[in-house]
């Protein structure tokens, strides 16, 4: 009995010690589920390395990458120039998946609410205070809108979701220019809650509440969300296809900006306007042992197979032409 236990222990130790290289990553909580899922699939094919990821927030991930405590970072927001300057090597932004932010609500409205950029900006500035406001009624001639006060729910914690949403607002409303970021100064009287779960909780609990959450979250929790008018003039529902469409036709700009490109308020046909990439941030020069594994993984993440897996858990796949360019950039990573 004891002998067999020892044997199992030895086998176990040797099995785990086979995975000699450990790759640690941290960052975006939005991207945590996809990394976790990808790691378990990838490790089945490639048992040589052990991948870990901690969803500590994009900002904290970037900080840890700069300090060298992690090997890669996940972020929903491109690195700022001042952060990039602090890093010891140039950082490559690999667009690995896409997501969207939806305007979710709790109001007795049957049918799908339609909103445009200006109306959303006015709701989140406290200018539109009732659900039956003329601006909303004009966009929704067929709906019966309640005479109910609007309560605005936002994220209180710094977050990539807020960054994407407020960046969209800054594009559609002149008053929001320069006021976007991970933490936003919202108007007096709006409510703030921690995390997507917190905002969703506020929406569910309070009739009349409108808030922004990630598409993945709204779908998993069956929250209703508005269709949003894009630059093309159409009201678009956030789906994997419409989010991916937001990154179509921007190959040239993507390459020129090293993939640090904003795709909110996209002009592409059928594109959902509040969409964004989530990036895997890696150094362009890496030590050979770890670098080889990171390159292998990120190459696989951009494969058709991995992107399909992403789609199955409500992330939107990155368009083919962007992936092809990203693969070229990955191939240029120097291993020493």
């Amino acid at each position: 009995m004891i002998r067999s236990l020892i044997l199992t222990a030895v086998l176990f130790v040797s099995a785990t010690s086979q995975a000699a290289v450990t790759i640690n990553g941290s960052g975006s909580t939005f991207a945590e589920p996809i990394y976790t899922r990808w790691f378990s699939d990838f490790q089945k094919k490639n048992p040589g390395a052990q991948f870990n990821y901690q969803g500590v927030g994009s900002g904290a991930g970037i900080k840890q990458l700069i300090e060298g405590t992690v090997d890669f970072a996940g972020s929903d927001d491109p690195m700022k120039a001042e952060d990039a300057a602090k890093a010891k090597e140039t950082v490559l932004h690999v667009p690995i998946a896409m997501g969207a932010v939806v305007v979710s609500y709790n109001a007795p409205i049957t049918g799908t609410l339609q909103l445009d950029g200006k109306t959303i900006a006015d709701m989140f500035s406290g200018k539109i205070t009732k659900w039956n406001d003329a601006a909303i009624a004009k966009l929704n001639p067929k709906l019966k809108l309640p005479d109910l006060a609007i309560v605005v729910a936002t994220r209180s914690d710094g977050s990539g979701t807020t960054a994407v949403f407020s960046e969209y607002l800054s594009k559609v409303s002149p008053e929001w220019v320069g006021k976007n970021g991970k933490t936003v100064k919202w108007f007096t009287g709006s409510l703030g809650a921690k995390g997507n779960a917190g905002v969703a909780g506020l929406i569910k609990q309070n009739p009349g509440t409108v808030g922004y959450v990630e598409l993945v979250y709204a779908k998993e929790n069956n929250l209703p969300y508005a269709t949003v008018q894009n630059k093309d003039g159409k009201f678009i529902e956030a789906t994997n296809a419409s989010v991916s469409a937001a990154a179509e036709g921007i190959k040239k700009e993507a390459v020129e900006s090293n993939f640090k490109i904003s795709i909110t308020d996209s002009a592409h046909k059928g594109a959902y306007p509040i969409s964004s990439f989530t990036w895997m941030l890696v150094f362009e020069k890496m030590p050979k042992e770890k670098g080889t594994e990171i390159v292998k993984f990120s190459t696989w993440a951009l494969s058709e197979e991995a992107q399909k897996i992403a789609g199955s858990i409500n992330y939107s796949p990155v368009p083919k032409e962007i992936r092809a360019e990203a693969l070229k950039a990955i191939a240029k990573i120097k291993l020493q």
Binding site: V56, G57, S58, G59, A60, I62, K63, K80, E82, D83, A149, V151, S156, D157, G158, S159, G178, K179, N180, G181, K182, T183, V184, K185, W186, T188, G189, S190, L191, G192, A193, K194, G198, G201, L202, Q205, N206
Partner: protein, 318 residues
């Protein structure tokens, strides 16, 4: 006791004490030094971390009303205000209940009732903060929104504290949940204080012909007054530092508003909310400075409580 003291602080030759004792004492010494080191490094980190913002905006940082990380504007006043306001609301609600409960437990109820009742109140302290927060979001906040706030708004709206639309989420609800959370602290300390009052004092007062109510008023509440103050100070300290449940219920808006119905933010909640995503130097530094201030105030309050208890004990010893 003296032996341990000697072992600890006097120099020995190895031959004087047994080797195992020597190892043990050495181990204890290391632990004691470690505690001091941890404390010192905490203070150093907070001080060093806050130096950037204090250099940038001086002590005016604590008086600034604007908090807008995107435009590098940092003022801590809304958080200090929110911390004080929620803690005061919590005390106003919790202190009378807790003191009454302690009187009930020590003076009035028979053992059969006092024991399980006291146990239940102590159990309140064992519930994790985040569970309070969840309960607050799903039960307390809707209840406050649908019943308490409309009632207060209807009959007391002439006061500036009960104005504005009832969200359920806000300073009032945060204060309410804090009240529940500090209730066991205040009750437990008050009970100890009341039990420490000699029975002879009560008997003396009763013998002079006072009623039970008069006895409680003079021999218990008035005699234990400084102890009650210490209990309240302890509860205040706990309320100020409480993070999770408050963050979930306060609405997290750095505004200064007289109305308890409006959302607010506390020093602890802004640190919990913003530190993971704070990247700019000034932002991180501002959060550290707020942490430092919270640390100092909490330290002061608990020091005050200790001082009061010490004085009380000395008075009874006489």
């Amino acid at each position: 006791m003296k032996k341990v003291f000697d072992l600890f602080f006097k120099k020995h030759k190895a031959s004087e004490v047994r080797k195992s004792d020597f190892a043990f004492v050495f181990f204890l010494r290391c632990l004691a030094v470690l505690v001091i080191l941890i404390f010192a490094s905490l203070i150093y980190y907070l001080w060093d971390g806050s130096s950037a913002i204090l250099k940038h905006s001086g002590w005016g940082f604590f008086l600034g009303r604007e908090w807008d990380p995107n435009s590098d504007q940092f003022g801590a006043l809304p958080f200090i205000y929110g911390t004080l306001l929620t803690s005061v609301v919590a005390l106003v609600i919790a202190a009378p209940i807790a003191i009454s409960a302690a009187i009930l437990l020590t003076e009035i109820a028979v053992q059969k009732i006092a024991k399980p009742f006291g146990f239940l109140i102590e159990m309140l302290a064992a519930i994790p903060s985040v569970v309070y927060g969840l309960w607050g979001i799903f039960v307390l906040a809707p209840f406050v929104r649908d019943y308490i706030q409309p009632f207060l708004g209807k009959y007391f709206s002439f006061l500036p504290f009960f104005k504005g639309p009832p969200f359920g989420i806000g300073i009032f609800t945060a204060g309410l949940i804090l009240a529940i959370m500090i209730l066991p602290t205040i009750t437990a300390v008050c009970r100890e204080v009341f039990l420490a009052i000699p029975t002879s004092l009560r008997e003396g007062v009763l013998a002079l012909g006072s009623t039970r109510w008069e006895m409680i008023k003079t021999a218990v509440v008035e005699a234990g007054f400084s102890g009650i103050l210490a209990a309240i100070a302890l509860g205040f300290g706990r309320a100020m530092g409480e993070t999770m449940a408050v963050t979930m219920l306060i609405g997290n808006r750095p505004d200064i508003s007289l109305s308890l119905f409006s959302p607010g933010a506390t020093m602890a909640s802004v640190i919990a909310n913003e530190s993971p995503e704070a990247t700019s130097n000034l932002h991180v530094s501002s959060l550290a400075a707020i942490g430092f201030a919270l640390f100092l105030v909490s330290l002061g309050v608990s020091g005050l409580a200790r001082l009061i208890t010490k004085i009380t004990k000395r008075r009874f010893a006489k």
